[in-house]
């Protein structure tokens, strides 16, 4: 018998009932994260059937998607402008109280994007199963957890039973050798991976990112990688826990303490794919050859090295449609294209290291005239930490708008949007048509590239400013 993958090990540990040809597995969920947008219908189902939340102790709620990011709206008593969003916020407050769930409310210092706050609390831990009604739940796989997004019906299932019905996915090894060069980030790496395997290349699989380049990444960089697994079609991405993982978790508020910590680490050390484990698919990538990446089209797989030209489409209808939306042409060079908006934030790149990277570029420089730079921390804790080391001052001095935490301009449902026809360099995860606002044109890139482009007012290779 061949060895087992990291995924196999975590899956098996959570099988309440194994799958059969007729029925999926019943999988136990260790941690259920929830937010205001995908939970109302699930709470309504509980109320309709008079069911309680089975494990409030394994459930954590926050407000992030539809919430405003302007300080005066979060703290100053200025109401949320969007009535419907205000209703959602109010409804989660009511539901959390009624069902006994811990909620980080609007003014709570622990509030933030759901995928940023759980790791920073130490609630996300290796070997866990973690779900949330949000596709970027894959982020938590950076800790060696099996973490994936679910729909609202499944949110209801987890509320009611702490379990999900699941078919076992296949496994896909993403082997990344070498080391990232200076100025090339985890964001560039995951964009390159998606460019290679395609936006549906991971469908039906759980990805495991492995190899020297992955081991060398910090936890925050690993979260950026796993976050975008879904953009390759994979519900989950995982990275085996190691010393970097344990060092990150040690001392966090919800990480195990004392003897329990030692026991936990001993168990976590076993969560690696066996040397003879077999994967259903694999790809090999050399990190040392990569450059900063930027998307040119309307899905994250339409991506090129920043110095490259947009590929010629030769009449391919999908590419033509994407380029028409972007008002780009095959053969156009990306460098030097003018931009209107820069967004630095999101569950992909809204953590402290991302803000430090942006500050490295922005320190002593100014945002180009006519360009709006919006910097939104992933959580209130990130904001506090950034302000404590003077990043907020650097951002404001550069002319950036430095906000409170939330999903913000990543998905244009909270008042932060990009105007029709405008070009936005964004550190978020999706460049879909209209994702950041009706008619908005999104260029996905790293915090370095985003900050450098804000300063120059055009798409810029950040290595010139580092």
């Amino acid at each position: 018998m061949s060895g087992r993958t990291l995924f196999d090990k975590v899956w098996t540990l959570h099988e309440v009932v194994a799958e059969s040809p007729d029925t999926p597995a019943v999988l136990f969920i260790d941690l259920h994260l929830t937010h205001e947008v995908t939970s109302p219908q699930a709470f309504a189902m509980l109320a309709e059937r008079r069911l309680p939340v089975r494990r409030p102790d394994r459930t954590l709620a926050t407000l992030d998607h539809s919430t405003p990011t302007r300080t005066e709206q979060v703290f100053g008593g200025v109401p949320i402008k969007l009535d419907a969003a205000a209703r959602q916020v109010q409804l989660l407050e009511t539901n959390a109280a009624a069902f006994g769930i811990e909620l980080f409310g609007m003014q709570d210092a622990r509030r933030g994007i759901v995928h940023v706050i759980s790791p920073e609390l130490g609630a996300t831990q290796p070997g866990m199963t973690i779900v949330c009604g949000d596709s970027h739940t894959s982020t938590h796989g950076a800790f060696g957890a099996l973490a994936f997004g679910i729909g609202s019906t499944e949110v209801g299932h987890v509320f009611a039973t702490q379990c999900l019905l699941q078919r076992k996915p296949k496994t896909f090894a993403v082997n990344v050798s070498g080391r990232l060069a200076r100025g090339v980030t985890a964001k560039d790496l995951i964009l390159a991976i998606i460019g290679r395997i395609g936006v549906s290349g991971g469908t039906g699989y759980v990805l495991e990112y492995r190899g020297e380049a992955i081991s060398a990444l910090s936890m925050e960089e690993r979260m950026t990688i796993c976050n975008m697994s879904i953009e390759a079609g994979a519900r989950a991405g995982m990275i085996a826990p190691d010393e970097t993982t344990f060092a990150y978790l040690a001392g966090r508020p919800r990480a195990p303490k004392g003897a329990a910590w030692d026991t936990a680490v001993a168990a976590w050390r076993l969560l690696v794919s066996d040397p003879d484990a077999r994967f259903d698919a694999s790809v090999d990538i050399d990190a040392s050859t990569l450059e900063p990446m930027i998307t040119y089209g309307t899905n994250p797989g339409m991506v090129v090295p920043i110095g490259a030209a947009i590929p010629l489409t030769h009449g391919d209808a999908v590419n033509d449609k994407a380029l028409a939306y972007m008002n780009f042409h095959g053969g156009d060079v990306m460098l030097g294209k003018p931009i209107d908006v820069v967004f630095i934030g999101s569950c992909t790149n809204g953590r402290l290291e991302d803000l430090q990277a942006a500050a490295r570029i922005l320190k002593g420089r100014k945002v180009a005239p006519g360009v709006q730079l919006l910097i939104v921390p992933g959580s209130q804790q990130v904001k506090l930490a950034a302000d404590a080391e003077g990043l907020g001052d650097i951002f404001r001095a550069a002319g950036a708008d430095w906000r409170e935490s939330g999903c913000s301009m990543c998905l244009g449902m909270n008042g932060d949007t990009v105007g029709a026809g405008k070009y936005a360099v964004s550190t978020s995860n999706r460049n879909f048509e209209g994702r950041q606002g009706v008619g908005a044109r999104t260029l996905l890139a790293s915090p370095y590239t985003a900050a450098a482009s804000a300063v120059a007012g055009k798409i810029t290779d950040p290595r010139e400013m580092l």
């Binding site: 029925t23 019943v26 136990f28 969003a85 999706r430 009706v438």
Partner: protein, 192 residues
């Protein structure tokens, strides 16, 4: 949920690949707190102009689309976010099945839980369907067979338990709740 065994309808064809959930239902329509009424916002940014008037070039605004319950879409339909609002919007509009060569995982799972059939067919069947919009197609869930108007039939895969639930109008929570004893035993045996 209403049982579904057979479906017979003309098709609407949207051949573009990678139609994502932000196109199916843009995020600004997610501030709802129920599942109802999303059909009017289905494909909103393609379906309506900036002034809110229907875009006559968009397939759903053309007379042949009226009453169709089967959407034929390009590869990797439903990619992107986990919003169940996507199948809710398609169902509220009137669709009961999406046919493609590949359907994104989370979207497919959400669809099965709401009675929207995610049907993956081979490339040649798909090519025929794309080339013949508004064809009358039969879908037999029990036999897992899709039949074209020319009589050519193709089988499609569908997860066995979801199929059982769809055919009998059951929801999956009832089954999960029936495993209460096993869940309790698991919780007791589990190291803290």
């Amino acid at each position: 949920m209403e049982p579904i065994r057979q479906l017979r309808s003309t098709t609407v064809v949207m051949a573009a690949t990678n139609i994502d959930t932000d196109q199916i239902i843009p995020a600004r329509f997610l501030t709802v707190t129920t599942k109802l009424g999303l059909g009017k916002s289905l494909f909103a940014d393609w379906r309506y102009g900036a002034d809110g008037a229907p875009n006559p070039a968009f397939v759903l605004n053309q007379p042949a689309a009226a009453g169709s319950r089967i959407l034929v879409a390009g590869n990797n339909f439903g990619c992107g976010s986990s919003r169940e609002h996507a199948p809710w919007a398609l169902l509220d509009y009137g669709f009961r099945a999406v046919v493609s060569t590949a359907i994104a995982d989370i979207f497919a799972g959400n669809s099965l839980k709401n009675g929207l059939l995610p049907i993956v067919v081979d490339a040649s069947t798909h090519t025929w369907l794309v080339a013949n919009p508004a064809a009358e197609v039969r879908i037999d869930l029990e036999a897992q067979r899709l039949t074209l108007p020319n009589g050519v039939a193709t089988s499609f895969p569908i997860e066995a338990f979801a199929r059982h639930c769809l055919m009998n109008g059951l929801d999956e929570l009832g089954y999960l709740e029936s495993k209460r004893a096993e869940i309790e035993a698991y919780e007791r045996a589990r190291p803290a």
